[in-house]
């Protein structure tokens, strides 16, 4: 396959090179009796890579192939005495990241464009013990299901401890899974976007333009998607009831099939006069998913069963969960959306201009629902419908999903007197979800092994709540040119969210700010700004209720009261034409509701950067840049207890619910990132031999400080543990040595070295049974978690301009 691809590349490269050579008496060749000029370039060469580690991460969004390659081809023709033009562009042909585009037309009259673009997205390689990756049905041999089910150790056999292997069946199941993983071929999870587009612009007159664009994008491939459940054993190894919870986790990492097709049509027309502009456009988007659902075989079950109580009787949901033969996931529904937009701009007196846009649209989806479950054993148990696997018994066969959106955006600018500039902005976005509200009698929960009749622990009905919101914001600012080198500005801003069917009614944020631009001399400028904002909350529903089942005192950070300070400073100095120095500093501090008991409490970030470029002569130039980032996030949480244990002498307002202050835990996350860039261009032989080199380093380090703020905990689940530092390091070296035989012919060699290391404790092998805190005998991942690599890519190329 690889050889065939390479042969095609050779043929393509040769034909393009011949075509280019034939046209290349010199650059910007005049043809057709002087009526047109053609120009372009072609770059072709050979390339060889050597990769140790994850090739998928190296090629996350690119295709680095070995062999003879045509990298780029460009052909432009422009009429000298006529306004015709043609522009053909080819990049990486016959590779996964290929691009072909052509544009042509008559300048000022019409233009036609056509393109095809392919973008790979390679995720990783892992082991999937199920067959059928890339389809909507994943299977495993019945015999494996039979063998594994026969070795099921139930809650009754296991006793009160999740990790008890009283019958030895856990060990036998683990052996089977390990054997399967060892003897299954690896699967690469990846997808590819292939987009084709056509565009037409037609100018009826120089002031009246029309356009039409159509794009069609296919996305095909697979990506990992996990599904699982857990059961809680409320007793630990020391026999202490509940205080040392143990969990039995079971699940499966799957291959989600991706078969999307998105088609977009955009048509519009506009009148663009000197003092006013107006246009209108319509956009239609059709999204089609080839797979409505993913059904997979549960390797551990050959027959359906329900969850049980401690005695393995199907009268409860607490234990023996995940006992379905076939699981079913609903995938993204197909949808359609329409948008009508009208925009305009008009010049007003006092050097003022008003610009606005109004857009109305809707998005709908009506994909048929899948049944509650494919686990027939639940039927009739715990109030579940008798024919539970039949989708026709659902209260409704589809959502009848429908959202109307209305957007408005206006900007008024004015310069009533020379030193003063005023700007006012207003934006409005209404997301009105008109989808049906459906009350379900219950749903298949707990690893699709039991019928649950409330949505949460607080008894909320199983009813969807189509969320709607209206967001408005406005800004007003004034810039005053105090003196020739100094401009100062002040601003005020406001933002309001009104929400429906959420556990908050709305938020309002008010802010002020100021800034300056100081340019004392032509070669230096200093810009600075500072903003302060305060967000207040309206109608956050009380916790531990059906309407808000989260802990009392927990506020989501995107909805919480917030005080924000934000500052920015930027200095640019050009002391001589050869040197440019830039210094940047940014700071942000968010403090979330003092009264909030839990959630994100504080978020800080700071960034400093230095950029220097120096070109002492035409033959030599350097650049260097360095960026230092620092982030700190501080959160507070608490482990949930069955009942409140006495708080003792702790000074805490909350002394009655499931969250005892002794079980509070905090987690501070510190992230530091250093990014370095260095590069030089040297003309070793002036205008003949040029060396380009660059080096980039990115080193991020994330530290976690987990601690219990109130000392000894009452629940083992609350006790914090140290987490190792997560590091992410990338080094990249690029070198290119090119020799110009003529102004238009260049040959060169290039080299790329990339070294990437990711150390993240979360990236585990496919099977963690025996090493995880929970009993994970029946949780099988794919192990698609290896991202580190070291790669060398060397090449030689020929570049011909014509």
């Amino acid at each position: 396959m690889m050889r065939r691809k390479s042969s095609k590349n050779i043929a393509l490269a040769m034909s393009m090179a011949i075509l280019a050579t034939a046209a290349s008496a010199g650059a910007d060749v005049t043809v057709l009796g002087g009526n047109a000029t053609v120009s372009g370039e072609v770059t072709a060469g050979v390339q060889q890579k050597l990769v140790d580690g994850s090739n998928e991460k190296l090629e996350e969004y690119r295709d680095v192939v070995n062999g003879v390659l045509l990298h780029d081809f460009r052909f432009k023709a422009d009429g000298n005495t006529t306004p015709y033009y043609l522009d053909l562009k080819v990049k990486n042909p016959l590779q996964d990241n290929e691009y072909y585009g052509v544009k042509g037309g008559v300048h000022g009259k019409f233009g036609i464009g056509l393109f095809y673009d392919s973008i790979p997205h390679n995720f990783n390689t892992g082991t999937l013990i199920l067959s059928g990756a890339g389809t909507g049905r994943l299977t495993i041999a019945d015999q494996i299901q039979t063998d594994l089910q026969a070795l099921e150790q139930t809650r009754g056999e296991r006793g009160s401890l999740a990790n008890n292997d009283t019958t030895g069946e856990d060990a036998q199941q683990q052996a089977i899974i390990r054997d399967l993983l060892a003897n299954t071929n690896s699967t690469t999870f990846k997808l590819k976007r292939q987009k084709t587009g056509f565009s037409l612009d037609y100018n009826v007159t120089p002031d009246i333009n029309t356009w039409a664009k159509v794009t069609n994008e296919k996305r095909n491939g697979t990506r990992v998607l996990t599904t699982g459940t857990y059961e809680r054993y409320n007793q630990g190894p020391n026999g202490l009831l509940h205080t040392e919870d143990q969990f039995f986790a079971s699940g499966m990492e799957l291959a989600e099939p991706i078969d999307y097709r998105t088609t977009v049509l955009n048509v519009g027309a506009g009148v663009y006069k000197k003092n006013w502009l107006a246009d209108a456009e319509y956009t239609f988007t059709n999204f089609d998913n080839g797979y409505q659902s993913l059904v997979w075989d549960n390797p551990f079950r050959i027959t359906d069963a329900t969850a049980t109580n401690t005695a393995d009787a199907p009268t409860s949901n607490a234990f023996n969960r995940g006992r379905f033969v076939n699981g079913q996931l609903a995938l993204a529904p197909s949808s359609q959306s329409h948008d009508f937009t009208v925009s305009g701009s008009v010049d007003l007196p006092l050097h003022s201009k008003l610009t606005g846009t109004v857009s109305y649209g809707w998005v709908s989806q009506d994909d048929p629902f899948v049944p509650y479950t494919l686990n027939s054993a639940i039927a009739g148990v715990g109030g579940a419908p008798a024919n539970i696997t039949d989708p026709s018994i659902l209260p409704q066969s589809s959502l009848n999903g429908w959202v109307n959106t209305l957007t408005q955006s206006y900007v008024l600018t004015s310069k009533p007197v020379e030193p003063l500039a005023l700007t006012a902005k207003y934006r409005y976005y209404d997301y009105d979800n008109q989808s049906d509200e459906i009350l379900f009698p219950g749903y298949a929960a707990f690893g699709e092994s039991y019928w649950r009749t409330s949505k949460n622990d607080k008894g909320a009905p199983v009813e969807n709540e189509p969320l709607s919101f209206t967001r408005q914001n406005a800004e007003i600012s004034a810039d005053y040119h105090v003196a020739k080198p100094l401009t100062v500005s002040v601003e005020g801003f406001w933002e309001d969210w009104a929400r429906e069917n959420l556990r908050i009614d709305g938020t309002t944020e008010l802010g002020i700010g100021g800034g300056f631009i100081y340019k004392p001399v032509k070669m230096a400028s200093l810009k600075g700004s500072y903003k302060y904002a305060h967000r207040t909350v309206d109608g956050y529903k009380t916790g531990a209720t059906a309407a808000n089942p989260e802990a009392v005192g927990l506020a989501n950070y995107d909805w919480a009261e917030r005080e924000r300070h934000k500052a920015d400073l930027r200095l640019t100095v050009v002391p001589t034409e050869a040197i440019t120095v830039g210094v940047i500093g940014q700071f942000m501090n968010d403090k979330y509701g003092e009264d909030n008991r839990f959630g994100l409490k504080k978020q800080e970030s700071a960034l400093g950067g230095l950029d220097i470029s120096y070109a002492p002569s035409e033959r030599l130039s350097f650049y260097a840049n360095y960026t230092k980032e620092y982030r700190k996030g501080a959160m507070q949480s608490g482990a949930k207890d069955d009942t409140f244990n006495a708080a003792g002498s702790l000074d805490d307002a909350y002394t009655t619910d499931n969250f005892n202050p002794y079980n509070y835990w905090n987690s501070n996350i510190y992230e530091k990132v250093d990014t370095v860039g260095l590069g030089t261009t040297v003309q070793i032989i002036p205008e003949k031999l040029t060396l380009n080199t660059s080096y980039a380093l990115s080193y991020s380090k994330m530290d976690f400080v987990n601690y219990n703020p109130n000392g000894a905990v009452k629940l083992a689940n609350a006790e914090t543990q140290s987490w190792p530092t997560v590091t992410n390091r990338l080094q990249e070296v690029r070198a290119d040595l090119g020799y110009n035989f003529t102004k238009n012919l260049k040959v060169g060699v290039n080299y790329l070295y990339e070294w990437y290391r990711l150390d993240d404790f979360a990236n585990t092998p496919a099977y963690m049974a025996g090493t995880s805190a929970e009993n994970s005998t029946r949780f099988v991942f794919t192990g698609a978690n290896n991202y580190s690599y070291e790669a060398h890519v060397a090449g030689a190329y020929l570049n011909l301009k014509f």
Binding site: K109, A330, S359, T413, E550
Partner: protein
């Protein structure tokens, strides 16, 4: 006596010169007027030849019939007369507002620049010629080799993001081994937009949905940030976390969710709730579920 005579003669000579200069001023004023592009070509032949394939050389076809060198450089009469560079405008060396005003004479008549006035780049006094090199720039007459390279020369924080663990394919479009399938203008319009942060869409989410269309439609069971603001959980420029998340899971999820016991554990690194996809090991449909049994985004 002799000195006085010399002084008198010098004074008369000076007065005569001044009178002659005053008389000649109108003539000089005529010289300082427009001379036409052909005149410029006489000295700047190479520049003119190179400019012939520049889109600006086709301005006439776009309704600017008299466009020429002096449309941007102002009347060249004084420059022609003296050869002095001070006698002609170089837009890259004058006040930003005047420079941009020159460009906007023609470029305000289009959809792309409709929101330029009041945009952040305008208010930060970024002149057109800071980003564009009208004579022989690169694609779109940009002053740098690629669009991304140009933007990150100021937005250094974004440059740092592009080298992180998870990011969009923006890095280095100039090389065969580059990833640059997206550019800054895939999401932003540097010339102003109806959306915030120069986002070229109705909202942040609407921009994300253009490529991630599968997340656009209403779902039976929703996760509010997916519809309100993708940036609640993701940093679109890049992140040290997986999937461009703003914080590492499970902490990201735990900052908003404290309902069941398993959500509220401090958790060690050997926990199924911490490793691999963390919370998403079970709550896999985090962007919403259309499954009647997907109330807690598990299926």
């Amino acid at each position: 006596m002799k000195n006085r005579e010399t002084f008198r003669r010098l004074f008369l000579l000076s007065a005569l010169t001044a009178c002659l200069m005053l008389l000649a001023a109108p003539a000089f004023a005529v010289e300082a007027g427009y001379v036409g592009s052909d005149k410029c070509t006489e000295c700047h032949g190479d520049l003119a030849k190179a400019f012939s394939t520049n889109i600006h050389a086709k301005a006439g076809a776009y309704g600017f019939k008299d466009a020429g060198c002096e449309s941007c450089h102002g009347p060249a009469g004084a420059h022609v007369g003296s050869g002095d560079t001070a006698g002609i405008i170089n837009p890259s060396k004058i006040d930003y507002e005047a420079a941009s005003e020159t460009c906007l004479k023609c470029h305000s008549k289009g959809k792309g620049q409709m929101f330029w006035h009041g945009s952040i780049h305008e208010s930060q006094k970024i002149a057109c010629v800071i980003c564009h090199k009208i004579h022989g720039g690169n694609e779109k007459l940009l002053a740098k080799k690629t669009e991304v390279e140009l933007c990150v020369s100021c937005h250094t924080d974004v440059r740092a993001d592009m080298f992180k663990r998870s990011k969009h394919p923006m890095r280095d479009s100039s090389s065969p081994t580059g990833e640059g399938k997206m550019t800054c203008s895939s999401c932003h319009n540097a010339h102003g937009s109806r959306g915030e942060k120069l986002i070229d869409a109705k909202s942040f989410n609407d921009k994300c949905y253009e490529c991630h269309t599968e997340k656009k439609a209403p779902m039976l069971w929703e996760h509010s940030p997916v519809k309100e603001d993708c940036l609640t959980c993701h940093n679109a420029h890049g992140s040290s976390n997986d999937k461009m998340l703003v914080t590492k899971a499970p902490r990201l999820c735990q900052q908003c969710h404290m309902q069941g016991r398993h959500q509220t554990g401090a958790l060690g690194t050997d926990s199924t709730y911490t490793f691999n996809r963390s919370c998403l090991n079970c709550h896999t449909q985090i962007h919403g579920s259309n499954n009647p049994s997907g109330a807690v985004l598990q299926r």
